[in-house]
Amino acid sequence: MGPSPRGTSGHSITRGVSLYSFQEEFFLRTMALRDAVAAAAGMGATDIEIIPEQSIAGFPHVSDAWVAEWHGLMAEFGTRPLAYDFFLDTLLHPHRRLTHEEQVASVRRDIDLAVRLRTPLLRAIISTPAAVLRDAAPYAEAAGVKLLLEVHAPFHYQHPWVLQHLTVMDELDSPALGFMPDLGCFVERFPRVVSDRALREGARPDLVALVVGTYDAHGDTHGLMDTVTYSGGGPVDVALARQATHFTWRDPRSLLEQMHRTHHIQAKFYEMTEDGTEYSIPYDRIVDVLVEGGYRGCLSSEYEGNRHIQDAYPVDSVEQVSRQHAMFERLLQGHEDGRG
């Protein structure tokens, strides 16, 4: 069920696409599911990650016809279903939070659907309480799927919230629990698609330079909103400063800490440039770390640049994801001489 090692090659990393990447086209109905799978296959991706709440009208009621179409597409394009991203709507009702039992039931519902879609991995959204995964784990184990906590910025393996999950994982020692890092944790440079949009919306160039410069120097973003306010910045400037506190940079080697529990990776990106690199995330060093750690799993494209350019530019998610896959291929190639 896991990705298959490539025999003589020096790594065991496969390439995949999360359909999250095509949210712009799905939203505007310019691409349908078939187009998306065809596009992924066309760039040599073998693995498909799906967000059912995005791709399946009528969710959580999914017809057998829809499931049959899904598997038909996989067969037709030679791809395999790999991951299923679930949400957990603890605030479903206006005046009360879902009980623990209702939360576990929500995860079980998603496991049932994952079994139908044949996705062996489930993305547990970072907000999922450790106790909920603990109590859903036996069901997942019986179903032969894994529940993988998406470790998303600003979280990390020493964070109090993630430590609660680690405690459960240590106690339960279940093959059904693990992690799925989102590479948005490793934003080394401030994404220029974000600062460029602020400029289009009237941000002051000197304040944009201050925010970007502070972030890029990995300086103290505490008080950055205040600094922008004191400098006479307006709402757009202050919002940019706030965004600088939402991105995080940490050493990609921190991925090694839980490599034995890492079964999937969401390869978040904001902008693949024309020269084939990601503007803000150091994919070259990240891939080196993954190979060094013996990561066996998928790099699953998660394009999130559309929201930052859609106001002014046409969005071409397929082109962006294609560039990322060309980069993956180039970087993985460097490890296919058996030295990994």
């Binding site: 709440e53 605030l91 009702h93 907000s127 929201r307 859609q310």
Partner: protein, 130 residues
């Protein structure tokens, strides 16, 4: 996110019953990257030419199913799908005058993993269609 696509051009119309304008309607998308049960749609507030529609006078229609805005909280078994153009109707006897109107839509979404409300604000000048 998706602010630009929230207000759908060409969908602003007066609603008519027995030959009289009873109000107006407009097509609205949700600024979010997945569908959401309607119970988590806390508000869809329309303001046309500076006049804010009352929640009590507003209904939301998704794929043919209509709900009062004030009753959405109980609707856990129907969803506003990704990119779906919902029809938001406002009871406003007399309707809107012909020509262009300044339309603002403020949406508030209860997103379980966010410590602050989701949604957003969109504004556009829209021509009344027939």
């Amino acid at each position: 996110m998706f602010e630009k696509y929230v207000i759908v051009p060409g969908t602003l119309r007066n609603t008519v019953a027995e030959g009289r304008s009873t109000g107006y309607e407009i097509g609205v998308r949700m600024p979010y990257y997945r569908g959401l049960a309607l119970s988590m749609v806390e508000d869809v507030a329309l303001t046309v030419d500076g006049v804010r529609a009352l929640a009590e006078a507003t209904t939301v229609t998704v794929h043919g199913n209509s709900y009062r805005l004030t009753e959405l909280g109980a609707v856990t078994d129907d969803r506003w799908e990704l990119g779906e153009v919902a029809v938001v109707r406002v009871a406003h006897p007399g309707g809107l005058a012909p020509g262009e109107h300044d339309v603002e839509v403020v949406q508030r979404l209860r997103i379980s993993y966010m410590p602050v409300p989701g949604g957003g604000r969109a504004r556009a000048v829209v021509e009344l269609s027939d």
